[in-house]
């Protein structure tokens, strides 16, 4: 179930919220746990078992890492969690690699449990945080289960680290203001996803199925710009919805995006894009490996490790590895010498956007042959402009413009200032955007959520 579905909006959410608010506080985590498992199992019920099994094991690790043999159990927990992730996510990939060098192993295709990359990382943070004394052992398995499965962020993040939410599980404030803020935030996210991401996505979809030799330079750039806007509004919209829903239930999640496309360096981009993933890798892998404090060699090694794994985290396919390495190398270059030349100026911004756009080509196209042909189309000066590109631009100019403007903070700052004076607009905005989103959802079965396959 995705948030931008009629099932979620008109059945699941209403019922869950109604009963949640009726229940006394001590039962609310239990209710969240139950309905989150339901939310998870709605798509693939068999994976509920794996989820419950993982929860029980990690709950147990939470006690054991406090023992004198704590370190052993910590390592065990890491191996356990990574094995599950590895088995479900990478078996098919590894088998295909082995087979491609001449072996012939037959393994039936393993279906990827939804959101496994997200909740595995989330669960891993628990034994580690407890071991590091950054959080206490959670005595209630219900609270722990509610933390792991919490449906607002279950399948697409933000990845909530245990230490950030431990206290809220025991005690959190719910209020009219939080409900109001939550609804506004949810509607921002829903609109980003349904009105912007889905509609901008049509541009990319139509361009990428054009016979590759016929894609003009302008159309190729338009396509990848559309993809960049789509994935940003899709993913950040989903995070907004998660944060908004969290607020409605009294939780405060950390921000996951901070206008990444205004960055003036790639290093900065990754501090603004999918913040919860970058900080997870930083806290639980990069720093423990020694970070950038030991020597330049170790720093480079660490960056390469982290970024290869970041790539793999996004998907079990070579293009994601390439995409991760690409960023690893760019970040190393920036770290070693480029960073000091990147200032708040137009050239730095263009450089960053250029690197990011090329990155999205590697990310979006799994087939290497097609990927290189697409890159070539982007620099094909023999076919700069064609009628398809003009048609696309003229049809979608408004929504692309909104997308671009929406990627920058200044409009939001301006409008927020105005809206503070005329706050009575908010109810109308919420009602209007909700009706428009419903109209869009009904009009299209085109509602796939991009981050599902990770």
């Amino acid at each position: 179930m995705v948030f931008s579905s009629l099932t979620f909006l008109f059945l699941y959410f209403l019922i869950v919220m109604l009963i949640y608010k009726i229940l006394p506080f001590k039962f609310r985590n239990l209710w969240l746990f139950i309905v989150s498992l339901f939310f998870y199992g709605w798509g693939e019920p068999k994976y509920i078992l794996i989820m419950v099994f993982s929860i029980i094991c990690n709950y147990f690790f939470g006690y054991k890492v406090k023992d004198e043999k704590g370190k052993k159990y910590l390592i065990l927990s890491i191996i356990f969690n990574l094995s599950l992730l590895g088995f479900f996510k990478y078996t098919n990939f590894i088998v295909s690699i082995i087979n491609s060098i001449g072996f012939n192993i037959n393994v039936s295709t393993i279906q990827l449990p939804i959101g496994i990359s997200f909740y595995t990382f989330q669960m891993m943070s628990y034994p580690i945080d407890v071991y590091r004394n950054e959080a206490d052992t959670q005595r209630s398995i219900v609270n722990f289960g509610a933390y792991v499965t919490m449906f607002p962020q279950l399948i697409a993040g933000p990845i909530v680290r245990y230490k950030d939410i431990a206290l809220q599980l025991e005690n959190r404030e719910e209020s009219l203001t939080k409900m109001y803020d939550g609804i506004k935030r949810f509607m921002v996210g829903l609109s980003k996803k349904v009105l912007l991401a889905n509609n901008i996505g049509y541009i990319w979809d139509s361009i990428i199925v054009t016979p590759i030799g016929e894609i003009s330079m302008l159309n190729a750039w338009l396509g990848i710009i559309a993809f960049s806007l789509q994935i940003y509004f899709d993913f950040s919209g989903y995070s907004d919805m998660a944060i908004g829903l969290g607020k409605m239930f009294g939780f405060e999640f950390l921000e996951n995006f901070n206008y990444p496309y205004i960055s003036s360096s790639v290093t900065e981009f990754w501090r603004r894009w999918h913040i919860s993933l970058s900080s997870w890798f930083k806290d639980y892998l990069y720093i423990p490996l020694g970070g950038s404090r030991i020597s330049q060699f170790v720093t480079i090694r660490n960056l390469l490790i982290v970024w290869t794994l970041t790539g793999l985290w996004h998907g079990a396919s070579f293009n994601f590895v390439l995409w991760g390495l690409y960023y690893g190398i760019v970040l190393i270059i920036e770290k070693v010498f480029l960073r000091k030349y990147l200032k708040e100026n137009i050239i730095s911004h263009i450089y960053t956007l250029f690197i990011v756009l090329i990155g999205w080509v590697l990310f979006a196209i799994t087939d290497f042959d097609l990927m290189f042909k697409y890159l070539r189309a982007m620099f094909n000066f023999n076919n700069v402009i064609d009628k398809r590109a003009i048609s696309n631009i003229m049809n979608y100019w408004f929504i692309i413009l909104i997308g671009i403007i929406g990627s920058f903070p200044f409009i939001k700052e301006k409008t927020t200032k105005i809206l503070e004076k005329y706050e009575w607009i908010y109810p109308f905005l919420v009602a209007g955007s909700l009706i428009l989103c419903i109209a869009n959802i009904i009009s299209s079965s085109y509602n796939p959520f991009l981050y599902f396959r990770f």
Binding site: F10, L11, F13, P45, A431, L434, I438, A439
Partner: protein
Amino acid sequence: MNKNIEKITVIIFYTILTLLSVLNLLKSEVSFSDNENRVLTKFGDIKINDIFDGEIDEKVEKYLSDQFIFRDSFVSLNTWTKLRIGYFEINDVYFGEDGYLFNKYDYSYNKYLNKNIEYVNDFVKDKNVYFTLVPSSGGIVDKLPKYAYSFDEEIIIDYIYSKLNTNNVNLYNKLENQENIYYKLDHHWNHLGSYIGYKTIIKEMLNEEVDNFQYELVSNDFKGTTYSKSGAFWLQGEDLYKIKLNNGLRSLLIDDKESNSIYFDERLDTKDKYSYYLDGNHALVQIESDINNGKHLLLIKDSYAHILMPYLMSNYETITMVDLRYYNQNIHELKNKNTDILFVYSLEGFVNDTSLYKLK
């Protein structure tokens, strides 16, 4: 911070969701969507087993979406807002001038075309076969939106004709620059367009001039396929004409059913009014007219040919019309020695057809 505004916002948000949910519960199920011309998902289509097969998510969503209250109005609202913000193409439909809705076709993706040409060439080997392609409305009517991308249909028609070993009847030049020859809200050519087609075909095949025909308005509320795809459900329907036969009908067999008219009045009460002609798509239609010239025509076609039939009956005593998409018997039994053979396909239909292998 104004508490009242907070309260009002929260109330409005939940009221919209709850109200629509309750209305959805109260409203009775609709089994068919006229505008979309398809059967809708009903509650009974959801099975207990779907929960365990992991199909429940998709099915419930489809059910909710199909049965949603004011569904057509929501779709219209979506189309309307998109037109307001400058869209001229929605759902592969171009919103042209003068109320024309054109299908958007891109013939770059023609993975069946060369195969289809081969099938036809194998079929015609030692025969004298006529072949004609009808361009799409977007390819002919000069009312596309200003910046719309459209594939030059003349190029692909010329390409196909150059590969085919048939006698090709080129309609493109004849249709070009003519007014009012396609429906505005449907993808077919209309009675005037098909008349031009008829005139050209008979000139080529029989070297005869053709008579004039009378028309009679039978519906002013025809809302065709491009209307349905567009989601612009506020548009008024258009006129549909009957072509008055210049000679009598002796017998008509549609599949195995006899009929006494090639026009089906009951179809005028349905959404798909183009089926007024010959009851829409059928595998095999056999017509006998009262002109007694002993001529027989085997017509292999898609639906663009239906509106040609009233005309062709003036020149052929018997016509056998075959739709390969539905016809599963041996086609070779239908072609005997003194039969004229004619293919009539829409360009888009021929390029993407997946049933021409049955010519083997």
